[in-house]
């Protein structure tokens, strides 16, 4: 085995080791083992850099596999696939995870379940790394569910309270809905191609063993899994509630692990997706981006705004995948992971500073008290808004140009996609600056909390600084305005679709090279429009909340229905509460009636019948069998009763019988 695979397996197993040690012995280790978890994760981070370096030396996909188990004559293999996407994801996951570990040391201190918390973080990281490294879709599903489990554990970490319980359950159940689709997709692949291995699946698709409607169905069903995990419309409702977990966990879930899993999975199967499936994916992403951005405009909880912004950005990534720009989607995933982790951790720093105040109406003026938090938050906000010289600008701009190219190629009604994309860019800039202004600028609104507030210690600010520095352009491309020449996009290229003829995305209209040219052609147009949109958003935010030129209250009351609609998150929870939960309850009531009357009736009937039969057999036993036995006894008794009379104990009686007997014998035998 080559060194790179040994290292990859080590990277996979170290977080698991952290989990195992901390869950069993966490309380007995000094400092409850946080140093151990941190050490292992930072070691992991170093190793993942080595793997990335080794991969960049090879520059071709490497895979290693072994026979996992055999059912009948069918071998199921497991293994590791290192290509550009997984090598980069490895680094991203480890960076975010290790800094979240570091941040948690302070954030979670004094928590009763301190060591268990770090154990769960280890399990979460392990599961995510499993998804990233595996080369079979079956193993990916296994880790996929492990991610679901560990997110459940972490979201419901403070399960003593009601809201985290509910949020954890909601996250788990909503994810299950998507996972059903994923599993069905895997089944279609397995029954048509008899393999779980990615490369063999792609060979099968390329040779046409799976095509047409089945291929589209498989693609869309697999995408359903991503809809659940990456919180896409209509299964996005779990993610904002997942804010009930500890804030560093939110950072981990929303930046590099759970929600990234969906995007990563779609990018893995990207080359086998048919044009129809991709169109569905693009529209789901666009709708998600728009809905969640519009909800984020009105929310007042700092973490909820960030949660909706995460959904919106995930919508961007899914949309990018749908329009055929896989590498841009992954690029945005990488950049987003860093600045979103930074935003969440900064929000955590604010929350700790204000002693668990999360409402932005209670904040304000924190810039003076928490300068480091402010500056890192601002840098990440700029990146998220897509301002030049940040990483977010590079990736978002790439996606926007891809959406324009998509419209250019397909035309017609598909103009919705770029329009939504630009609109969302503006909205993102607006709500993010609304957040910055309300939290850090202006006058403090809650003076009591403000006065007790102070800057967080270095273990919390260090991750913020590192992550905000990673939000600058230079780490991804030396040209601050165009990422296409940067190292990351030249390593991570969109692969060519396997589907030729009418099914493929590019080939039915144009060649891949031509597509790339069109995307590049729209690059500057997209950049200018997105800058205008972002600038407008920021300007409006300042007008509304900083300079207060516009009376926001009057505006809100004038558009009260719209505001309420957005403030109540498009009434999705209510709709699901009514439609899904209500329907489930109705069905369960019918089932209950059926159970009570039909099933119980059958059960009771059979019980009644059994009782009757046993009654009959009982009386048979009682009267016939027992009668027979009793009769024997009675007969013997009666016999004894008669013959007892003869046994008088008087010698003379016996003598009399003796003589009678002799006379009788004489009479009988006389004839002989």
């Amino acid at each position: 085995m080559e060194l790179i695979f040994k290292l990859s397996i080590l990277i996979l197993l170290l977080p698991l080791l952290s989990f195992v040690i901390l869950i069993f012995f966490g309380k007995r280790i000094p400092r409850k083992g946080d140093w151990l978890a941190n050490f292992l994760l930072f070691l992991n981070l170093a190793l993942s850099f080595v793997v990335l370096a080794l991969f960049l030396g090879e520059k071709k996909p490497l895979s290693f596999e072994f026979n996992w188990f055999t059912i009948g004559s069918f071998n199921i293999s497991a293994g590791i696939l290192i290509d550009s996407v997984s090598a980069i994801m490895l680094v991203v996951v480890n960076i975010v995870s290790s800094f979240v570990h570091l941040f948690s040391v302070k954030y979670m201190e004094n928590d009763a379940k301190y060591s268990i918390y770090f154990a769960y973080l280890g399990l979460f990281t392990f599961s995510m790394l499993g998804i990233v490294l595996t080369n079979t879709i079956l193993l990916m599903y296994v880790f996929w569910e492990l991610v679901g489990l560990s997110s459940y554990l972490l979201i419901g970490f403070w399960y003593e309270n009601k809201p985290p319980q509910e949020a954890a359950k909601k996250a788990f159940i909503v994810n299950r809905i998507g996972d059903v689709g994923f599993l069905t997709g895997i089944m279609i692949l397995f029954f048509t191609l008899q393999t779980f291995n990615f490369s063999e699946i792609f060979n099968g698709v390329a040779s046409g063993q799976l095509s047409g409607a089945w291929l589209t169905a498989a693609g869309i069903l697999l995408f359903c899994g991503a809809v659940g995990k990456s919180a896409q419309f209509p299964l996005h409702v779990w993610l904002p509630d997942a804010m009930e977990g500890p804030t560093p966990v939110s950072a981990l879930i929303h930046a590099a692990t759970m929600v990234a899993a969906g995007v990563y999975m779609v990018s893995r199967i990207f080359i086998m997706l048919s044009a129809d499936a991709l169109t569905v994916i693009a529209y789901v992403g666009a709708v998600t981006a728009f809905i969640s951005a519009s909800i984020a405009l009105t929310q007042n909880d700092i973490k909820r705004v960030l949660a909706y912004s995460t959904i919106s950005q995930l919508g961007y990534m899914i949309m990018a995948l749908g329009v055929g720009a896989m590498s841009y989607a992954m690029f945005h995933l990488v950049t987003h992971a860093f600045f979103k982790a930074c935003l969440f951790l900064a929000a955590g720093s604010v929350i700790i500073g204000l002693h668990h105040v999360q409402d932005i109406r209670e904040m304000g003026g924190l810039k003076k008290k928490m300068p480091l938090t402010y500056w890192t938050f601002l840098i990440a906000t700029l990146a998220l808004s897509g301002i030049p010289f940040t990483s977010g600008f590079l990736s978002k701009d790439s996606i926007l140009s891809a959406t324009m190219a998509f419209y250019h190629i397909n035309g017609g009604v598909h103009i919705i996609i770029p329009v939504i994309a630009f609109l969302v860019a503006g909205m993102t800039a607006f709500y993010m600056f609304r957040l910055v202004i309300k939290t850090f600028l202006g006058e403090p609104r809650n003076t009591h909390a403000y006065e007790h507030c102070k800057e967080s210690p270095v273990v919390m600010t260090l991750p913020l600084i590192v992550l905000s520095v990673l939000s600058f352009f230079a780490f991804y491309s030396l040209n601050p305005l165009d990422a296409s020449g940067g190292w990351i996009l030249s390593v991570m290229k969109t692969p060519e679709s396997l589907l030729k003829g009418t099914q493929g995305l590019f080939s039915h209209i144009i060649e891949k090279i031509e597509y790339d040219e069109i995307v590049h052609h729209f690059h500057y147009t997209a950049m200018i429009i997105s800058l205008i949109m972002a600038g407008t958003g920021i300007l409006i935010a300042y007008l509304f909340y900083y300079w207060k030129k516009v009376n926001v209250g009057a505006l809100v009351s004038r558009f009260k229905p719209v505001y309420n609609f957005l403030y109540n998150k498009w009434y999705f929870d209510e709709l699901y509460g009514f439609a899904v939960v209500g329907l489930t309850l109705a069905v369960s009531r019918i089932s209950k009636w059926f159970d009570n009357n039909i099933i119980d009736g059958i059960v009771n009937g059979s019980a009644y019948l059994t009782k009757k039969i046993s009654g009959i057999s009982g009386s048979f036993d009682k009267y016939f069998i027992d009668g027979l036995v009793n009769f024997c006894g009675f007969f013997v008794g009666a016999f004894g009763f008669i013959f007892k009379k003869f046994q008088t104990g008087k010698i003379q009686t016996y003598l009399t019988f003796l003589i009678i007997g002799i006379i009788l014998l004489y009479l009988i035998f006389r004839t002989f």
């Binding site: 104990g649 008087k650 003598l655 009399t656 003589i659």
Partner: protein
Amino acid sequence: MFTDVGLNHYLVVSGILFGLGLFALISRKNAILILMGIELILNACNINLIAFARYKANPIDGQVMAIFVIILAVCEAAIALAIIINIYKNFSTVDVDEVNTLRE
């Protein structure tokens, strides 16, 4: 007429004696009377022995056997009377129906 006395006459006498003895044995409650019944039976037996010996075989053999029986009867009577005396000492009665300690 006495010369006509043959074996059958002896047998009838002995049979009557035996029957009386048996009757005494069965019907009497008094142990001494029962013992007397036994004596009657033994004497009936003696008559039979001598009669059979006189008419059917060597008479001496029968007489010897009869003497044995008489001696046996004497011994038996002695033992039986000793037992009866002991019973009387213990139970103050010689009624065999009253002597039923073993039965209970």
